[in-house]
Amino acid sequence: MILPGNTSCQGCPISLAMRCLDEIENPVLVIPAGCSTVVAGLHPNSAMKIPVIHVPFASTNAVACGVKKAYDQLGIKANVIAWMGDGAADIGFATLSASAVRKDDLITIVVDNEAYMNTGTQASLSTFWKAKTTTSPKGKGDERRNLALIMIAHKADYVATATVGYIEDLRRKFRKAGEMSGFRFIHLHSPCPPGWRFPSEKTIEIARKAVASGAWALFEYHQGRLRFSPVGRRYVEKENRIPLADYLKSQGRFEHLSVEEIEELEKVIEEEWKILRKLSTD
């Protein structure tokens, strides 16, 4: 759904993810400020084959809701997509939360590159604990926010995590969301070469290392039940995982971490898995 020759950086996960939007029928994109704004095209050009409504940073789900309500009133079918970065999810979190509680009939996709990339890699609430950014020059002091888990606590109709590292799985989740109705939420792990400081050819490798090390859990939550996705299921068990350091040390933003710090991080991650495993039981 995105055309070649756009403004994305080399190896950009957003551009890759935008390609996968062709799994969703009748899409209408609502995009707030962020790299996606730029990637989608600068005036007078649009890089997208589908309609795009650019909107203020904090407004995405509310605008999307308005678009959808209007289509409903006017009898027009559409999959309205609130497509935003993790930063937009920060500033727009009240709006996102309200949209979930209202069960707005739309798809929310948070393309999470774990920082405010478009303004120069400042820390967001999604930024990995201890990662260096321009506003956390010694490493971020607080843990990342687990958006998907929070959306489960919102009883969203569909919650999925995905990654650009596994495109088939990602496409399947886009497709599934597009075929359902209700409030659908997809949290998309998106390694960003300049922001995370790795060479552009490593986007996929790093995305997969995140899964293999347990740093990024792949699951779907639907009708009150959490299921781990096939592609990442073996990493539910800690012993199947690669060392977290393998994931972290391939990125400049974690260069400074000590062995002890990585161990700390591993513990925190395992705590999150514990909750996920609880939720996955009947």
Binding site: P4, G5, N45, S46, A47, M48, K49, I167, K202, T203
Partner: protein
């Protein structure tokens, strides 16, 4: 009222011919390639066709295709 300032229209090469950004050019070795299409799926720019032809006007030379190819059928050649 002039709508043009508000409207942006679909265009291939919205950022121009981004092929000029490349330092390295991906070259497919047709011998080694088994047309698994993995590179097609993972090219962020969408410049690899289903029959594995690369559109060099827009390929930015990120190298993802080279990395993802299990056949090691793609080589990055300096421009």
């Amino acid at each position: 009222m002039d709508l043009e300032p508000l409207i942006s229209r679909m265009k291939i090469g919205s950022a121009g011919e981004t092929g000029s950004w490349r330092n390295y050019r991906p070259v497919v070795n047709k011998e080694l390639c088994n047309k698994c299409k993995t590179c097609f799926s993972y090219c962020p720019e969408g410049v690899i066709s289903e029959d594995i032809e690369i559109d060099y006007r827009f390929c930015k030379g990120c190298g993802i295709c080279k990395e993802i190819c299990r056949q090691k059928a793609i080589e990055m050649v300096p421009e």
